[in-house]
Amino acid sequence: MRKLTANLKIFLCMSLMVFSATTAIADDQLPKGIMKLKGQPAPPLRLNNLDGEEWNIEQARGHWVFLHFWASWCGPCREEMPTIQAIVPAFEDTSLEIVLVNTAETEDTVFEFIGVVAPGLNPLVDADGQATELWQPRGLPATFFVDPDGKLQYLALGGRAWHEPAYLNFLKKLTSK
């Protein structure tokens, strides 16, 4: 009986370790520029894309959201955007939804910019900038990672080369959970 209890304890410890390993990526395994957040609830977000279709973050429960804030006047945003477009096909049928939010620009400006830099993307348009104000990214560009429960888990600081292996592995780890 004592042996059975000891085995049960070992099993529970191991299960806990495995569970921990699959629910969080250790800080030292995060690629450069990715910051762990405290898991606070994501602010609301409901905007239309360039086709006038509404997207609501509430509908994204159950999968991860890569939520990227950008503006066409921001140099690093311009550089980063093609790297986002490059990873979209790899995550099309996964539990990662890639969502872009343009901050405070007109649809014409967004359309013109995206048409040249990343024509495969269809960003949401935060025309008066108020949704971005609510989210308060640390600057532009910025990418939040919202978990399947609607909580903020990670923030990418500034522009990142998403097509590079370190970032692709990070995204794959998220979607493998």
Partner: protein, 212 residues
């Protein structure tokens, strides 16, 4: 000028340069003579004008802990940036009444580096110069009827009021002070450590001039 990587932007990438398509030899050798003549003419014409508007000497500092650069843009450059973003002229006039400097800071420590413009001091003629804070702009924007979208864009181009820069993180943005006729000094103080427990760092830039 590369407007899309304008250091005026709050999010200017220090290492980024404007890219041009270098694959195609769009100039042949016979074009170079003409280009040379045009360049010499342009330089001569430029030299005949008044002194350049923007500060010429680079205001730059770097050590093992921090990289910092101050960019001073001319009124024409400032104006061009906001015109390009669709700002109305009356709002641009308000911006041009003040002296804009654009500090760019990168954290090179292995800990947090705090950027807090409130702990920076501007000194001119041995007198402190009060920084124009973010809430100052509420009234001119109300008076000029600046749209929320433009107010938001303007806000994103300002230096954050506080930012705990993480390892290798950078930040840039504009800081406004009242227009100065004479050179002034900036003493930028940075706390270090996640809880500001580290040794503070002070970087001083002298002889800064507002853009003409």
């Amino acid at each position: 000028m590369c407007l899309n990587n304008n250091p005026q932007s709050a999010f200017y990438d220090f290492n980024r340069a404007c890219k041009t398509n270098m694959n195609k030899p769009w100039l042949t050798i016979r074009h170079y003579g003409l280009l040379l003549i045009l360049s010499v003419s342009a330089i001569t014409a430029y030299a005949a004008q008044e002194a350049p508007a923007a500060q010429e000497a680079p205001l730059e500092y770097e050590d093992n802990d921090v990289y910092m650069r101050l960019v001073i843009r001319s009124k024409d450059q400032l104006s061009a940036f906001y015109v390009g973003r669709g700002f109305p002229q009356n709002a641009i006039d308000e911006i041009l009444k003040t002296c804009f400097i654009t500090p760019l800071v990168r954290n090179k420590t292995l800990d947090a580096l705090w950027v807090e413009p409130d702990s920076w001091s501007f000194i001119g003629d041995n007198q402190p110069i009060a920084r124009i804070k973010r809430d100052y702009w509420d009234k001119p924007w109300k008076d000029t009827g600046l749209s929320l979208a433009h107010q938001s864009t303007f806000g994103w181009t300002l230096m954050p009021e506080t930012r705990d820069l993480r390892i290798d993180e950078g930040v840039g943005g504009t800081i406004a002070i009242p227009m100065q006729e004479t050179p002034f000094t900036l003493k930028a103080r940075f706390n270090t450590g996640l809880n500001k427990e580290g040794k503070a760092k002070i970087i001083e830039f002298k002889d800064i001039t507002c853009a003409n």
